[in-house]
Amino acid sequence: MANTFPGAFPRIPKITVLSPDAAFVALFSQAFAPEEAEVTVWPRGRGALEHLFLDPPDLLVVDQALSDISGLELVGMVKCENVYRQLPVALVLDEQELADGVDWSAAEVDELLTRPLTPTMLRARVLLTLTRALRTFDANPLTRLPGNTSIISRIQELIDRREDFALAYADLDYFKSFNDKYGFSRGDEVLMMTARIIVNTVRGVGGPTAFVGHVGGDDFIFLLPPQQVEEACKTVVASFDDIVPHFYDAADRVQGFIESTDRDGNLRSFPLMAISLAIVFNRNGRLRHYGEASQAVMTLKKKAKANPRSCYVLDTEND
């Protein structure tokens, strides 16, 4: 089985095809033998969404001509969620539709398939897309949020454009003791939960263009317009404090602390995890370089960490 699929894909790839076009769908069985790819077909878009979200395939092929929802709109719904961003998407169009001018900068598709299409061409395009998706992204492997390269370039871009923004740096208190006691996979659950809270809150406040990045470990950053950042911080703190107790075993949740070993190996008790946020502002082009923003926020972070409870600290001195 190992090498039947020439793209060196580690397993039989799952391909989901959303298309009402029976002739196009039939091309897949000509292009791939059944043991090469597992192809699932949905003639309509809406019904497929839940399935896509629950069990994402390795490649999603979306026909622009879906009857119930535009292909690009559906792609947008899938791609704006951090956990599904890595899913490669191929859009299917009639070649003459290209003349109408598709806004490719807004379309979050990874590959384009144009009708009329031959089985050979389809096969090549699918192989290429799958292989490309295997290459590393600058995304955090756990949360799939943008990593440091993207974070730095996004901040520098805003600085260069002399745009006002607030940079928030979030990290967890007592995450290490939780990890020590419960193990790293339970720790990963907490990081995934934290990422979802931040993503949903920041997007809820700032709209889909707001930026959230995962620096690594329990450190996250987000960027928002200065006037919106405090509301976001309040919501993140409230949601985190509300939800995090459920990630502890019942006994620890009830007693409100855990017993774990500290850095010197001594057994001691630690409070439940809290989230600390430090926020610096760039107004009127005060900052010149990413490094200044990062240094300012790290200094402020110490202040936020001094409080054992969840809290946020705004940089009022330089504001």
């Binding site: 399935h51 929802i69 719904m77 979802r196 939800i243 459920h246």
Partner: protein, 279 residues
Amino acid sequence: MTRDLRTERKGRILAVRDLPTLPNVLEEVTRLVERADSSTEEVAKLISMDQVLSAKVLKMVNSPVYGFSGRISTIQHALVLLGFNVLRSIIVSTSVFEVMTENMVGLWEHSLGCAMACGELARMLDFKDAEEYAVAGLLHDLGKVVATVQLPDLKPEIERVVAERDLYYLEAEREVLGFGHDRINAWLADYWKLPPNIKEGLSYHHKPHLAQLYPEMACVVHVGDFIVRVFEYGFSGDVGVPYLQPEAVKILNLTPAQFEILLDHMCDQYMELVAGQSS
């Protein structure tokens, strides 16, 4: 019943993809979600009134894709973690069954009434996260819904056995299907990776004293189910009221005085609900 037939039916139950949901809740949720100033609490409250949407939301947030399976058991937390975008997608992909049987409409009211009683009881007993008890109450008969959707041919047979042989719905299910909705609930809870406390509430509400891990949860749902049947709010599939397990009252340390207050409260709440629906 042969093992093969049973396995085949379990397979058909778990092939469940599209559960029906109530159209009016769907519309209201959509409207609320699309309004910029709506709060998570408002949306959670609405979702909590629909057993199918609630189940879908909990199933989604506990799916391995999000990376914290089995941790989230309240609708409000689920909405914070899923976000409105995913919620909207769940709603648009929820296919609404145009024709809802009378039985299922009554079952929805029965479930809602049970959820209210469970929440009230949990608050009265000062249990933490009373909302989770309400969720279990709301979903306690989900197995009945899924069975009628997935095995529609067997539903008239169950109803016939209930009517002709004067059996409880659960007994008739066991007779006809080979298993009851409590068993279906356990399968669904595993299949959807719902948290263990919700699973026990769903699968042990008819035999709460046998629940191993979360007996309080199972007992609260048992008592909630009993209360909503006493007041005949909604329709569970049975005409009568089943036996209230004395062990459940004992495990919960529920005094007769508390029980009386609870009955009074629930009577008022159901009256209010009926008045609200007819106005």
